[in-house]
């Protein structure tokens, strides 16, 4: 009987006329595709199309193509479904995957168009006029009291601690363990340089990164990995991770292979054990329990802002309202396209709702209850470009989080094999020979370049919209129009169709 019925997804071809037999490809491939027996050979079945070999081959001798093997077409039984069945029939278990939902669900962002000024109001030139992106995250009072005192005005109220961001873009939580320490280093350096924050994810924070505390949000998830009082105070805010867009309803998964000495000491768990976060927080079985944890964390941190991260699920608006009323200062919405280091494909691809819709209903719900000022909203899980940033803010986000985009900036090819720990780019791996490949300074520079580019683009759009501060875009759905969305989706988004 055949051992493996799943055919290779990609074919690796080495042009032996060009190949100088330098063996760089063998060294570079994290998945063990290449071998050398008189000449370079390739085992295509192991290839994930991460392109590391292609980029590093000095002779451009390697090509990777999609396996053209023909399957009899069937519109219901697409090849991926057949392959999944072969895999599970061969070895029982859930099919694991990495990164975000890759199914072609409707992308609402791609059906939203942005307005611009013509004649009746002037556009503003961002090259010549100030264009402000500064954003404060956290609870704000509904009003301020200002007294007139001796001809001077004096503030007679206090605003709670807020996180000041120079740009409305932050780095989403990606845990140390799931990604390498060098990845965390690059994110921290870039966050500091950009005047924004990185989120630790649920794996604690390596002591070496404590000096970046003004640019870090520390996460506290159901596994409580690496959570201790010094850690809780090693950032500007604490985030309670209830859910993640890629895997709503289940906890984080980190295979034991990725848990070496440093990860073990940071996470405070034994080396080599699987780090499986419980699906729920076992001290949060209801909203009143969440309130207790929020206030416990506030007490532990001298009342720093507390963020609550949830996956966008069907009833997200009511859940968000509950979170705001439970005392959270920030609600972090992670859409169903959000990335992950490891998740069952069935969850990643089929559970949750799009960020755009969740964001729209949460913002609307909080406004209808008059409590929008109580919390800031961060939108993440599906932000791919500066256009998405603009649209998310117009739908009601205070800021956005980027994870996948940040990894792509540092070399990630979206091969979706993070859970194997073999990342050839040194990002989603703990193998020392691989992690050394990502130079944190190089990575940081690329992150800074990317985010600065997006900031420039956001400013350009603000100028075209005739506003010079990002708060005039925030929640301003009047400046969006829908093209090709159905009536009920437009109604939910509170966005008019193009032409109206």
């Amino acid at each position: 009987m055949p051992g493996n019925m799943v055919t290779s997804e990609f074919l690796v071809n080495v042009d032996h006329e060009r190949c100088r037999r330098c063996k760089r490809c063998i060294l570079n491939c994290g998945f063990g595709v290449f071998d050398f027996q008189n000449m370079t050979t390739a085992d295509s079945s192991k290839c994930v199309a991460c392109h590391r070999c292609v980029v590093f081959c000095p002779e451009e001798a390697i090509t990777i193509t999609r396996n053209p093997l023909a399957f009899r077409e069937h519109s219901s039984w697409d090849v991926d479904k057949r392959k999944a069945i072969w895999k599970q029939a061969q070895s029982p278990g859930m099919i694991l995957t990495g990164m975000g939902n890759d199914l072609p669900w409707l992308n609402v962002f791609d059906h939203l168009l942005i307005d611009a000024c013509q004649v009746t109001n002037p556009s503003i030139d961002p090259l010549r006029e100030p264009m402000e992106l500064r954003t404060y995250l956290g609870r704000k009072p509904d009003s301020l009291k200002v007294e007139r005192d001796d001809g001077k005005f004096k503030l007679d109220s206090k605003v709670a601690n807020n996180i000041k961001l120079d740009i409305p873009i932050m780095f989403s939580g990606m845990s140390y363990g799931s990604v390498s320490l060098n990845t965390h280093r690059a994110l921290a350096i870039a966050a500091e340089e950009l005047g924004t924050v990185m989120n630790t994810g649920e794996g604690g924070l390596h002591k070496e990164l404590y000096p970046y505390r003004d640019h870090i949000i520390v996460q506290c998830a159901s596994g409580r990995f690496g959570v201790h009082s010094e850690y809780l105070n090693a950032g500007v805010a604490v985030e309670i991770k209830v859910g993640q867009g890629a895997k709503p309803g289940i906890g984080g998964h980190l295979p034991g292979e990725k848990i070496g000495r440093e990860v073990s000491s940071t996470r405070m768990i034994p080396q080599g054990t699987d780090a499986l976060s419980p699906a729920p927080h076992h001290d949060i079985y209801s909203i009143e329990d969440l309130r207790q944890l929020i206030y416990a964390l506030k007490e532990a941190t001298g009342y720093k802002p507390v963020s609550v991260k949830i996956a966008t699920v069907h009833n997200v608006a009511a859940i968000a309202s509950g979170i705001a009323r439970a005392g959270a200062d920030i609600i972090y919405l992670d859409g169903f396209r959000g990335g992950t280091g490891a998740a069952p494909a069935v969850i990643r691809d089929h559970v949750g709702i799009p960020l755009e819709i969740a964001l729209a209903v949460v913002d609307k719900q909080l406004r209808s209850e008059g409590i929008r000022n109580w919390v800031s909203i961060i939108a993440a899980g599906g932000i791919r470009s500066s256009a998405d940033v603009v649209k998310a803010i117009a739908l009601g986000a205070d800021a956005v989080g980027i994870g996948t985009a940040a990894l792509i900036a540092m070399g990630c090819r979206l091969c979706q094999k993070c859970y194997t720990g073999n990342c050839s780019w040194g990002i989603a791996t703990q193998r020392p020979e691989l992690t050394g490949r990502l130079d944190p300074d190089w990575g940081a520079e690329r992150l800074i370049n990317l985010v600065n580019s997006w900031s420039l683009e956001v400013k350009e759009v603000l100028g075209a919209l005739g506003v010079n501060a990002v708060e005039s875009l925030r929640g301003n759905r009047e400046r969006l129009r829908a093209l090709g969305l159905d009536e009920s989706t437009m109604d939910i988004l509170d966005v008019k169709p193009a032409g109206r």
Partner: protein, 374 residues
Amino acid sequence: MSKLAFGDQYSTWKVDTSKVPAACGLSGVISEDGNRMSGEIIIESMRVIHDRGNGLGGGFAGYGIYPQNAGHHAMHIMFEDEAGKAACEAMLAEELEVASAEEIPTAPSAAIVNPPLLWRYFALPRGEKVKASGLADDDFMVRLVMKINTTVPGTFVFSSGKNMGVFKAVGFAEDVGAFYRLGEYQAYTWIGHGRFPTNTPGWWGGAHPFNILDWAVVHNGEISSYGINKRYLEMFGYECTLLTDTEVMAYLFDLLIRKHGLPMEIACKVLAAPFWKDIDADEDVDEKELYESLRMVYASALVNGPFAVIVGYSRGMLGLNDRIKLRPLIAATKDDLLYVSSEESAIRQICPKPDRVWAPNAGQPVIGQLKGDV
């Protein structure tokens, strides 16, 4: 067939919340000593900037015009027909003590086509109704005005303050002033407006000033941040039902000053917020914290995009530009008089030799205040 004055827009402004771009000409004058001036002065000023309007809306507000009824809300109401008037009067009788009612005197002319019924009522809220509502008097009145304007067909309350009144119509400002016989009123503050809407036939209610209680706002500009300003106001119970940006401006003043108790100067710093670079450079730590906090808390009340606005209120008059001065605004003083206008010509027409003329900087309010009682 409804009258042209309300026209097809009538059905639209009750349901559609989209806005209509409009450019305009403005003028205002206040006597800080409280000396009353005939309405002729503001008509004369507006006449010079005729070309800033296109005949699709003109209007005025005067403060101090009803000294005999100073304690009552002067409700100026336009009715499309007798049925609307009857329905509205029934509601008024239920909610208010109406001391007197009369038709607003007009001088019909060819320049003003198809006027609606124009009436004014001097009234006070019924104590027991206010008590039952659990609201303060002013909030009760705001809610009543919004209720009439959104639920009573063919009815529009266009003025509801005390000892002040708004007069507006479809037409050029100077024709509107003559139509309402403004020369027969004496006010210590006058503001005027000529409208240039770009894609509406114009309707009487959409002309400026826009009024809510004591506030009368004339406005030249298009609010690029309208969508969020409107949604912000909705959180505090304001319903933006008109087709103009101006009501947003009026409600923001009402919210910030009357409800939140912010000083006028500070409200201006919310609407036309100083830039972060200037706040960051402020060496006065307290002031820096004040402005930083204002921008944090009132981010959604920042009015972005071009505007010049003149706001009348019982104790004063304000002129304000957007934060980068994208619309014209000129100010001048002469003795106890402060003038603010879109154009210097409109000031010089009624004050040929001002003591001082200047162009206020972006976001810097010009405020004239009554020195004593009037």
